[in-house]
Amino acid sequence: MRATAASRFSTQRHPYLMAAVVFLVLCAVNAILQPTFLRFGVAASNVAAFLPMALVAVGQTYVVLASDIDLSAGAVVSLVNVVVVSIIDGMGGTGTSMALGLVTGLALGLLCGAVNGLCVAFLRFQPIVTTFATGIVFAGFALWVLPQAGRQVPPDLYLTYAGSLLGVPTVLWILAAAIAFAALVARTRFYQALRATGGNMQAAYQTGVPVARVRLGAYTISGLFAALAALALVGETASGDPLIGGALTLSSVTAVVLGGTALRGCVGGVAGSILGAFILGLISNVIFFAQLPFEWQGLIQGLIILAALAGGVVMARGRQD
């Protein structure tokens, strides 16, 4: 089949179109159920609530584009969260301690990602099993650092996070920075090499693409964004919790797939994953405001996610025939 004018403007070129449609529908439903939804303050607090998952999903996207997967992302969030809080609280909550804590947290995220990348890309371990295992190790470390949720960070930190900068809420700045980062990366040779690696690893290798380094890079980015998500959670909760990231691993993968990125690699992008994360968050909102009985919430949430995924699959089928 050759490209026709019709197929050129489709999910083929814009894999996140489906996610955008679902996102708008959910916004509309949410606005009906919760009349204040469109107010700026409410929207900003929604972004704050969805931000950690969106950040993890952004990092996960790079790994998935290379046809790998990072099942340790949630554990990295937990580990960085407790380490940062422990450093800041342990050093008395001074300005220096905050700076040191944030920098250490980011470095730790990079390190965790690099460990994953080295195991998968250079030692050629199987990605699913490897990152599942390193995830257990990271989660174990988190429990060792802080066995129970607790400790505190000084108000300066969480007030800054909840506050505004130049009249714009801090969380929007962070989201904008993540989008800017993604837009920059998408215009590098690295990104082309990443997609080529995910599209056909053997062909990429034969073309001279440094496949192992590219995969390592993707895992490192995933670690970095998991660390950013952890910092966002510190700002959000003002305390440490060794179990806080657990659910983020699979929801980040779900967000990536909802956003149109193919698990087999090459196709997709960060924009879709952010939409995917917001979709997951909006689904929780809708269920909350629809005042469904508690025992029905999980069931309905699962069904909506399945319906959103099915939409993407149906559109993908349509373009293959």
């Binding site: 050759r2 590098t188 062909a203």
Partner: protein, 500 residues
């Protein structure tokens, strides 16, 4: 001084010797054809030059200096460009992204310059403007291109790197006559610029049309290098197949009945373009030619493992719709692959399970009555002279040959009328091979029809009553009786022409 010189190159894969001291020298500004029969080592030699395989011994000189490449990246940096037969394109990426992969133009702050990328790709595409056909533009996805268009894009990708040494491995296989002319024109221009080309093809016409010199390889060694002006076609084919001339098939001939067991008419599928033939009961028909010309694809398509695009298949006169292996096996057709690890044995499961799986799959039995099944497969265990300690032992404990007997046994238990054998003796010992040949003869005597593909030309010519010679997914010739010689096989294998 040659621009590239390989000498004494040796390479072994497991126990198989792929190269046993190959010599090769490429002069500046020449087109050098590299030809040989199946398994002669020409692909391995190219992969060593391209840096994707490391040699065990021997030297590689580039401009007289010894080099050894750690990977394709280093080879590319040294000015070697490779057209890969299986293509190195990323299907989900655009034509422009593929052509300039790894060499994307960068603008401000090192960021990718998409406009420049697409302009460069458009300039590259302009070289083949007349022959590319509709739908090829810088933003087109490679997945949306046809086979010939993809092949031209792969050629442009190789050219875009501006290599001094180009290796074209079957670069013209899917092209029509005009497209080949355009490619040859480019190759002549490259020659004029002082670049050197190694050209591999399965079309003798092309060798004489484009190449200055030819090197013939046989059994992992170089047997001849000479100018094409000094040699004829028949001499080349003779050199390729070696001195042991014209060994005809064995004396044991089968006596096919007149009944047609399998009739294939104009069958098309992935890598197959209009294959027609008839297979009679009690006959072995061989599928030959150079590797990867559609022989395995035909067997897998007939077994329903890959979808058909067109054509008709009749089994014993009745139409067959090969929409899945299960539908096909219910029509008494069996398939045995030489790729046991992938399509044959379930390695960690017991021999017994491996033996009965086809019966179970065909008959949709609700329960597994072990003793009854043992009685059913018992005769075949004896007939195949299967050696094992216990039926409960994992099949992986057996030798490769015995594993293959298990796979054959599971199909014999279904009493097939047609047997599809895809290189069944690959990697098994001589004694087991003889056992398998004897079994095949015996089956023929009982009226079973066998379609056999083998990567071993001698075996194919010796075992099959007729050999269909494949080239580019089509049957290019049929050899029977005294014609079944390696010479005739390679004459036919190299004979095809491009569609106009």
């Amino acid at each position: 001084m040659p621009v590239l010189e390989a000498s004494g190159v040796r390479k072994q894969f497991g126990g198989v010797v792929a190269l046993a001291g190959a010599q090769f020298a490429l002069e500046v500004g020449e087109v050098h054809a590299l030809i040989g029969s199946n398994g002669c080592g020409k692909s391995t030699l190219c992969k060593i030059i391209a840096g994707s395989v490391a040699a065990d011994a021997g030297s590689l000189l580039l401009d007289g200096r010894a080099v050894s490449f750690a990977g394709p990246r280093q080879a590319a940096a040294a000015g070697i460009g490779v057209f890969y037969q299986e293509l190195s394109l990323i299907r989900e990426m655009t034509v422009a992204e593929n052509i300039l992969l790894g060499r994307e133009p960068r603008g401000r702050a090192g960021m990718l310059d998409r406009d420049a990328l697409e302009a460069a790709a458009a300039a590259a595409l302009a070289q083949f403007d007349d022959v590319l056909g509709a739908g090829v533009h810088p933003r087109a996805r490679v997945a949306d291109l046809s086979a010939d268009q993809s092949q031209l894009v792969e050629i442009l990708k190789v050219l875009a790197a501006g290599p001094r040494i180009l290796i074209f491995d079957e670069a013209t296989a899917a092209l029509d006559r005009n497209q080949v002319s355009a490619v040859f024109q480019r190759i002549r221009a490259l020659k004029g610029e002082g670049r050197s080309v190694i050209f591999i093809t399965h079309r003798m016409d092309e060798v004489f049309e484009i190449a200055d010199r030819v090197t013939v390889m046989r059994n992992g060694a170089t047997v001849l290098t000479c100018a094409l002006a000094q040699i004829t076609r028949d001499e080349l084919v003779g050199t390729m197949v070696g001195g042991a001339v014209a060994r005809a098939g064995r004396d044991r001939r089968h006596v096919p009945s007149e009944e047609i067991a399998l009739e294939v008419e104009n069958l098309s599928a992935a890598k197959l373009a209009g294959v027609s033939f008839k297979l009679r009961r009690g006959e072995i028909v061989g599928l030959g030619g150079l590797h990867g010309q559609g022989q395995s694809e035909l067997l897998r398509a007939l077994f329903g493992a890959t979808p058909l695009r067109g054509g008709a298949v009749r089994v014993a006169g009745q139409p067959l719709d090969p929409r899945g292996p299960r539908a096909v096996m219910r029509r008494s057709i069996a398939y045995v692959s030489g790729d046991r690890g992938r399509y044959g044995v379930m390695a960690i499961r017991p021999i017994f399970e491996n033996l009965v799986i086809s019966l179970l799959a065909r008959d949709r039995r609700w329960t597994v009555a072990r003793q009854r099944l043992e009685r059913e497969v018992g005769p075949f265990i004896e007939r195949l002279k299967l050696k094992f300690s216990s039926l409960r032992a994992a099949v992986s404990e057996l030798s490769g040959g015995n594993q293959q007997k298990v796979v054959l046994g599971r199909w014999l238990a279904t009493r097939p009328g047609v047997l599809l054998l895809d290189d069944p003796t690959k990697g098994i010992d001589i004694q087991t091979k003889e056992d398998l040949y004897a079994t095949m003869d015996e089956l023929c005597g009982q009226g079973v029809a066998i379609l056999l593909h083998s990567s071993d030309d001698e075996e194919l010519l010796a075992v099959a009553d007729r050999v269909l010679v494949f080239n580019g997914g089509q049957v290019m010739g049929e050899l029977s009786g005294e014609q079944r010689t390696r010479f005739a096989l390679y004459q036919a294998a190299y004979a095809s022409k491009h569609p106009a």
